[in-house]
Symmetry: C2
Subunit: 226 residues, 2 copies
DNA sequence: TACTTTCTTTGATTAAAATCAATGAAATTT
DNA sequence: AAATTTCATTGATTTTAATCAAAGAAAGTA
């Protein structure tokens, strides 16, 4: 971690950030960007890192620069419930009440942009466009949650799995990847948990979808939506 | 609808509103309240009224003063998916993108407070506390969506139904009702839809919970959580 | 490379929910 | 009040997913 960075480098960190256009950062002018650049840290973390924990006090919010994060809650029975998979350009960590409401864990190596919430709030109150843009990001979280509800309420395992694959494909497109092949970085166990199914059921559903030629495995062993 | 109202009546409409403390309105000072009172309309609607429709342009946001609203989306297959039940003190109708993302339909007679979004936005930008409070309300929606995800991902129908009953009980408490008995205003069909189950399964789950003495029916035929 | 360990798939069996069907209760309409 | 419609419960059967079990594939470690 380089604590001493030139003004020039600070500007560059945010100005040339490859996810800048995906998130509220594009609402900051160069002056602002220079200011906030000084507060922001880029962190590289290996697969399996817990970035933040449910009930911990909120000190930072995060943007994903690359890699995938799984987000889960521990429910009243002590069970893990995955509530989302986050991709480059997604942000996470902001909540009312001062404490994180879920765990965030990397399922691939990740590069994160870590913004101290205190600093961020300052810019929020100064910059109306940023405020609005942040609101859009929260609304997007809500949209995703409702997408998951619509998937979970489906009756058949096959439908759930197919919808899941379509959603991941969409996510890929969202950060500039092609819609096919589908890069399933999460384990069957994670998919099963997300969908309220068992591992074996997910596996069988994928096999059935393949037999029906709704999906297929390409020459590189990667999943394709037909 | 009385279009001519005295200043005095306007102030009273919001100042003495019984849900004022439940929602962002309590962040408005008397001057503000007087201003916004002129814009706000109270509407009484019978059971079964569609208050707003998915994809319609957003002109108003709503607070529930009394009664219950069910919120649902029509998914890509044309199926209805209920994503929430709203109670007095809940607000709905605000979305990014300028169009409502769901239908809102009364399942009891309701009294609503209807606020033109244009006016509301004006106050949002003038009043930082209101802005923050509104953000809290949106975060609360997100929390509820995640609660539904946690319920839907449960494996057994019995668990889903029990969690649903607990949630409704909590909702009642939230607007000043006792936690028991549970007033299930929605039909079995609505509950089943919300939980991703069939009507018969919901009915059987309730029977099983009663046999296990986890719930019981009191002398007035009302459901009690034990 | 060989050896673990973890992850994934498939099969057989059991358990649970959907479906089909009928009846009963409640609410609404006439 | 009677008739109709809607809603809720229960039973029998079928379908689906969970569970139990084992083997094969992939990834990580010694």
């Amino acid at each position: 971690m380089q604590e001493t960075q030139s003004m020039y480098r600070n500007i560059n960190k945010c100005l040339n950030c490859k996810i800048r256009s995906k998130i509220f950062c594009d609402k900051l002018n160069e002056d602002c960007l220079d200011q906030i650049s000084k507060e922001v840290r880029h962190e590289n973390l290996p697969k399996g890192s817990i970035v933040l924990s449910q009930n911990d006090e909120i000190f930072n919010i995060f943007n994903i620069i690359h890699g995938i994060i799984k987000v889960y809650q521990i429910n009243e029975n002590g069970d893990e419930q995955i509530i989302g998979f986050l991709y480059p350009g997604d942000f996470f960590g902001s909540h009312e009440g001062g404490r994180y409401e879920f765990y965030a864990e990397s399922i691939t190596p990740v590069k994160l942009c870590k913004i101290p919430i205190k600093e961020f709030r300052k810019y929020l109150s100064l910059n109306k466009e940023l405020h609005d843009s942040f609101y859009v990001a929260v609304m997007n979280e809500l949209k995703l949650a409702r997408m998951q509800i619509n998937i979970l309420a489906k009756y058949s395992a096959e439908e759930k799995v197919l919808d899941f694959l379509k959603m991941i494909s969409m996510k890929q497109v969202g950060h500039g990847q092609p819609e096919n092949p589908i890069n399933l970085q999460m384990t069957r166990s994670d998919i099963a948990n997300y969908l309220g199914l068992k591992i074996e059921t997910v596996s069988r559903a994928i096999t059935k979808l393949r037999v029906k030629n709704i999906i297929n495995i390409n020459e590189n062993g990667l999943l394709m939506l037909n």
